[in-house]
Symmetry: D2
Subunit: 330 residues, 4 copies
């Protein structure tokens, strides 16, 4: 059906959204996709496992494991909930990787620090407890319970002139970490997910996703070590919202008119072409570069970055109890 | 017609847009509204004069003069065009006020510096050549050709807990300037206007407009001195875009179906209610706090602020030639 | 004695330092100055009361009460100590003012946000829980236990062209608060005090002190309501350090030589003139505008601002327990 | 002589200062060091060539060429002088390197963006015209006259946990540029040089110099391509100033007393030990981490960065006339 057919091209970086869109359509299980959901107070955890090439194809998401934490309450400032989600994030992250006591981890903050909704990765890096150099030079100042963590925000292609993937490759060859964690701002399909959903995936960062300009894939295959991708949606593309709005609207009209009515048929026949023409007429001047964000975007990015940084610090350094991970923020 | 009736509630801070929406509808002149247009290379200047209470009512804009500079080329980085627009802005601003050599001017940068698209006013203030204290204390260091300029960015209600209008009233009573110029980010109806249109008005700042929370009117009546409002659109409300999209779409369908078709009648009858339901379903989670901006918003606000500050510096200080007004930016 | 005579001109904004310098010299009590000291673990609290015009004259500090909290440990990042000092700061602040449940308080962040060590006041304001507008418009969203707090960072004379005192006067006439709290960065004489000492005074802000350009006094006399000044030293003037260094050095030489030696007499006779000539030769190019700060100044100002904002929030809003005052930071 | 002996340990990153200190002492030419000076209106250009291992040893500076531009007028805001110095900087830079039309250049902004005086390198990078990716992907959008420029601000060891030199090595292996230009904030010995002197050197960046923590040398030897270091002094170590002050002072006393006097001998005998004790007593609390900067450091770093970025853009892209290099900033 015309209104639905287009949906797969709608951009989302979240496996859980891709799954919901498919399931909503076919109304049954998708072979090669296992989904498991756990409800906690004010927090839902979903674990999506894409395990066949066919499922990868249909979902438009790489094979691998995706864990999603959803806490709609994060939209309101609530320190207690932030702490709770941060602790659960730590737990889920640790469930996805195997870390030895002396594992070395490199954290990469992807994105453009000059564009607020794309600045999440660099902002997280700012609040990390970086220890690699201390453990190498004067380990006694730290004591027990710290892993060697290094971190960088390489910028985006438009800032450096160099593919981010190349910078990371070069760095990994020098630093030789056991694990890479890439933090990035994501694009979602639904406004309700902005700053309320965290995705952890063991698939690497798929090129072309995200807000900025990243093109070379960063994954186990390309850099030779496991890659965990951590992301939070900070924008919805204006085109996505426009598509949503018009789909909903036309469906409502068709529903009301009934499948036998001429209205139904007219809309069904003309809708897609018109929708595209109209959307391009309205949104064209800025091309694909328009985004929809909440007005409090600056504060929301700041809060989300603190939550992720606190969770990462606790996950990587056993000495840090998640409860007081703020203590080590510099 | 249902699709049109709602349009007046669509938010725009630009008189020229309000006029275009009305003219588009009635297809003729509006009594009490004079419009004059001048085309220059890459720049169109419009002068709208609203001169009757009826016209004020119909336009949804206060009686007074509105000058609009439109330069679509500003969307691309172009220093030469910026300089040209800045010079024309200086000229138009001076056409609206009568300044004696010893006039004292207070410039107020409205808006919230923590919210990028609302930070235009504070950013302009940052680049102004402020001279009031130098003229009072050591005028010889400046030489001839400078007026007493003071400037403040008072913040917004949510930051200060005080109505911005009250802060300004208090300040005007102390500083006793001859003229107040208020600079603010505006909301437009059309995406093409973002960062490409400058409005200068002698009507003061109407309460409730703009991106932030401003409620007490700042005008000749409320503060006792002439008030010039300078603004540039930096956002379009997500609701405006949604309304635009759906109006265009449904109109296209109706046009195609023809006025005699049942489709036409069905859509005409159900459209408005459905549109509202659909929009609120999609946009509701963030209430009215969603905005659409170009991704380069940070850079665009910076560039627009420099253009306005340069133009204001040249307008207020005869010693500054617009050409090298950058020289006095600190 | 020549080396000592000059000391009174050394700039410090701290009453406790002024007192120590005097006491060090005369080695006895100063009439009209009561000093009381309390030692806590990792925190010393001093209460200086200057109660006669003569004492005011000798101390170079206005009559009134000065409370000083000294916690050298704050130089190292230590969340626990920060919390403890913040709670004690709340307590001492409340001991100095009488607040009714419905008292309204205006907090002013003095200083220049463009100059890191002078940005303390504006940074504190950024983290305050501002409630005046909420209590006026929708008090039910807050619940019990909140006072009407408003806040502003007016900037400095060089930015606004207006005396900060005038801006405050205008604002106080509009807002009509019961109490004004002014937060400012201070200059100390001793490097050890940077970011480790908090001074609370009920004397207002003396013109000419601080890092920036403040000239009109903000006090009970000038604005008609009680004024509490809260400050933390963030810089030492380069001249102060130079003076310290050379005094110490020459004293050491004289001590070694002995009072009967010709060296002693020569140094005693020539020291002051030479010192001044040498200092002006070395420091002159930047006039009085040189400052000495730790390299981590950016982080230290941030941490100090959080400590003060947390303490102020807890002091003014009974609903906030100091322990979780961070919860209300936006 | 004791007062002089210590001088070589005084830290300066400027070859011209190292030379002046030596020449001041020995009062004659230094073998293996050629110095050539050119005076222009408001600008002095010095070219120091260190050409023997002995000279390297004595100067405490690596063998190679050092060009210094000195323009004391830069301390005052002066757009015209800035432009003139920027153009000369372009010229001198080009005199030091051989660039083919298709040479590829990597610019590295060294230093810590969180510490204002150390943020010069990253600030310069922000204003560079980066073209490598455009020339690779869509060269037609640029036209003729642009070289492939890439740029990165890698951060400092304390932020990344990785030696900056290692990050650069990894990057150079991937990007394979023909030339590396490293921009860094320097430490000077003299306050008059802050933000008024530019040094260009073909020797690479010596480890341990600068404000931040850089330890691995970045030079032709370590990374395999020519390295040009560009730097501007932004701080003087507090210890340097202290040393200066006390040296000058004691010398003045000795001069006045005369070489036959007991004062002279006493000071000569005790000076150094005492000076060190006194300095450590006064400066110790913050260890070596104290710096002296002008209060306008934020603005000065901004202006200096613009000057260097404009000069680099003009040097690397023939299409850019230095006169309007601002046109291509971001």
């Amino acid at each position: 059906m015309s209104l639905k057919q287009q949906k797969h091209s709608i951009r989302t970086d979240l496996a859980i959204e891709a799954h919901q869109m498919l399931v909503g359509e076919v109304d049954r299980e998708i072979p090669g996709v296992q989904v498991e959901t756990e409800e906690k107070e004010r927090l839902r955890i979903s674990r999506v496992h894409i395990s066949s090439p066919e499922a990868e194809q249909r979902m438009g998401k790489q094979q691998g494991k995706y864990i999603t934490l959803e806490a709609p309450g994060l939209r309101q400032k609530n320190t207690e909930l932030q702490d709770m989600v941060s602790r659960q994030f730590t737990k889920e992250l640790l469930s996805m990787v195997e870390l030895a006591d002396n594992s070395s981890v490199l954290i990469v903050g992807l994105g453009n620090w000059n564009v607020t909704p794309d600045a999440l990765g660099p902002r997280v890096v700012k609040d990390l407890l970086v220890t690699r150099h201390i453990l190498a030079l004067e380990p006694e100042t730290l004591g027990e319970g710290f892993r060697a963590v290094s971190a960088i925000s390489p910028g985006v292609l438009g800032i450096t002139g160099v593919e981010t993937g190349e910078i990371i490759q070069g760095l990994v060859e020098k630093v030789r970490p056991d694990l890479l964690i890439a933090v990035d701002a994501l694009a979602a399909r639904s406004l309700t997910r902005l700053h309320t959903t965290i995705q952890i995936a063991d698939t690497g960062i798929t090129p072309g996703s995200g807000v900025g300009n990243k093109r070379l894939k960063i994954s186990h295959e390309t850099i030779g070590i496991p890659v965990i991708a951590v992301g939070v949606p900070t924008v919805v593309d204006a085109v996505t919202i426009a598509d949503d709005l018009t789909s909903h609207l036309l469906e409502a009209i068709m529903r009301e008119a009934g499948p036998e009515s001429p209205v139904y048929k007219v809309i069904q026949s003309i809708a897609e072409g018109d929708r595209r023409a109209v959307m391009s007429e309205v949104l064209e001047p800025y091309g694909g570069r328009l985004m929809v964000t909440p007005k409090e975007i600056d504060t929301l990015v700041e809060d989300t970055a603190k939550l992720l940084a606190g969770g990462l610090n606790a996950a990587l350094h056993p000495a840090i109890q998640s409860a007081d991970s703020g203590k080590y923020l510099h």
